[in-house]
């Protein structure tokens, strides 16, 4: 969706057009949910945050500054809600829940070895995401999952671009190491079975 089209939707939703509000939700709920799921590691937390963030945003559309992207505003509010939820309830990252939950979605009935390897790689990523610091996790997700630029992330997180890059590199190396260890483990298992 182009920015101008999105801006028109926002104006219509602010004017009371429910359909425009629906379109805004449908345009962003998947990416926000994926982001919050990876951030929290818990589908129930992700669902609550997405719901609350959209309700707040759509209730206060008159406060939206059109100089910024709608998604940036939405994600900023979602992050604040997540931080508040962490302070209140201390939700812990649960890679078992994320892995099990994601495993339910569209798993092939006759998985090939490569499917299984890919699925295991996702589990390894879920594990390593839980081991990253909150800053590293957020930066990795915003950059590689949401496609935000370094400068946008720096502004969003209120930290210098160099620090953002440093977190990004460290987080990515941890992920890479996890995948390499997982690959090594897979090779060892293959040798045992061959």
């Amino acid at each position: 969706m182009t920015r101008s089209a999105e801006q028109r939707l926002i104006e219509r939703a602010a004017a009371g057009d429910k359909g425009a509000g629906d379109a805004l939700i449908r345009a962003h709920q998947k990416s926000l949910y994926a982001y919050m799921l990876r951030m929290s590691g818990r589908p129930d937390v992700a669902e609550d945050i997405v719901q609350d963030a959209f309700v707040r945003v759509l209730t206060h559309l008159d406060r939206f500054d059109p100089r910024y992207r709608f998604s940036t505003w939405l994600f900023t509010i979602a992050k604040r809600l997540y931080v508040n939820a962490c302070q209140k309830h201390k939700p812990h990252y649960d890679s078992d829940i994320v892995g099990g939950w994601r495993g339910r979605s569209g798993a092939p009935s006759d998985p090939t070895i490569s499917d299984e390897v890919r699925s295991n790689a996702r589990l390894a990523i879920d594990d390593v995401l839980g081991s990253l610091s909150p800053e590293q996790r957020e930066i990795i997700l915003l950059f590689h999952q949401q496609g935000w630029s370094i400068s946008l992330i720096a502004s969003h997180m209120d930290m210098p671009e160099g620090t953002v890059k440093s977190h990004l590199h460290r987080g990515r190396r941890k992920m890479r190491d996890a995948i390499e260890q997982h690959g090594q483990h897979h090779e060892n298992v293959s040798e045992v079975w061959s």
Partner: protein
């Protein structure tokens, strides 16, 4: 002299730093370590020709290739689509409940109206509080509650009526018209006296029991017709009605005394008659 020496040291330090910066800027992609190149590639910082050089380099560098492949696999897993639930219906319903999907201008009017009503109520309550503090009772619409002494007075006068009824009830007992259980020495008579309209307003709201001290001490003066009565009265106010219960204790009849008692007149006297 010392200042000149300091200046020359500072100048040399600045030149060294500038030289290092120039060297750093002259470095190209080819000068970077493979690990840095992998980072630069995934940061999206390599120009097209640098990317080509990067891929040429990792063909011959097993370590860099492994890094690249593992990072790519990790990022693919990270970007794997998730099965997001559709929350639009619940979100729209909640937004509708909060703001009613009204146009912004109308919503502002509604909000302004709500805030105005709340402010008026607050002002009203604050004003009432201040007036009440300055002159207590000024805002009370009904008469203040009567003191308990008035209530007792009311009870006494109404008790007189009650005792006359007790008298007739004992008369009934005496004449055998009303059965009295043989094993009981207590007779209870209950009557209801409706408070006057003036009293009603004065006792309204006092929905509580009020105990009165014993008001009666009846004693038959005639020794040949001994029949002692001791009584107490207990009143309770419920709404606008004064419910008064009178309890009269009579000694259990023994032998033919009951016949004498039956013949004895029930001389009741209320002490405040």
């Amino acid at each position: 002299m010392g200042r000149l020496s300091d200046n020359s040291i500072g100048r040399r330090a600045i030149e060294t730093l500038s030289s290092l910066r120039r060297d750093s800027e002259r470095r190209t992609a080819d000068d970077r370590r493979p690990e840095d190149l992998v980072d630069a590639y995934f940061d999206g910082e390599l120009a097209p020709d640098e990317s080509r050089a990067f891929f040429e380099a990792i063909r011959s560098d097993d370590s860099a290739r492994r890094d690249y492949e593992a990072t790519q696999e990790a990022l693919d897993a990270l970007r794997a689509p998730v099965d997001a639930p559709d929350l639009s219906a619940s979100i729209l319903a909640e937004v509708g409940r909060r703001r009613g999907w009204l146009p912004t201008r109308l919503r502002q009017y509604v909000t302004f109206g709500r805030v105005s009503i709340a402010a008026c109520l607050l002002l009203l309550l604050t004003g009432a509080f201040l007036v009440e503090r300055e002159s207590p009772g000024a805002l009370t619409l009904s008469e203040p509650d009567a003191p308990l002494a008035n209530l007792v007075e009311t009870g006494r006068s109404e008790a007189s009526v009650g005792f006359r009824q007790v008298s007739s009830a004992i008369e009934s007992l005496r004449s055998g018209q009303a059965a009295r259980p043989a094993d009981r020495d207590t007779a209870e008579f209950t009557f209801s006296a409706n408070a006057s309209e003036r009293r009603r307003s004065s006792i309204a709201g006092l929905d509580r029991a009020a105990s009165y001290p014993p008001l009666v001490d009846h004693r038959n003066d005639d020794a040949s017709k001994r029949c002692d009565f001791r009584g107490s009265i207990r009143g309770a106010l419920r709404g606008g009605d004064a419910m008064v219960t009178i309890r009269v204790m009579m000694p259990a009849p023994a032998g033919d005394r009951s016949a004498r008692e039956a013949e004895a007149p029930a001389a009741l006297r209320c002490i405040d008659d």
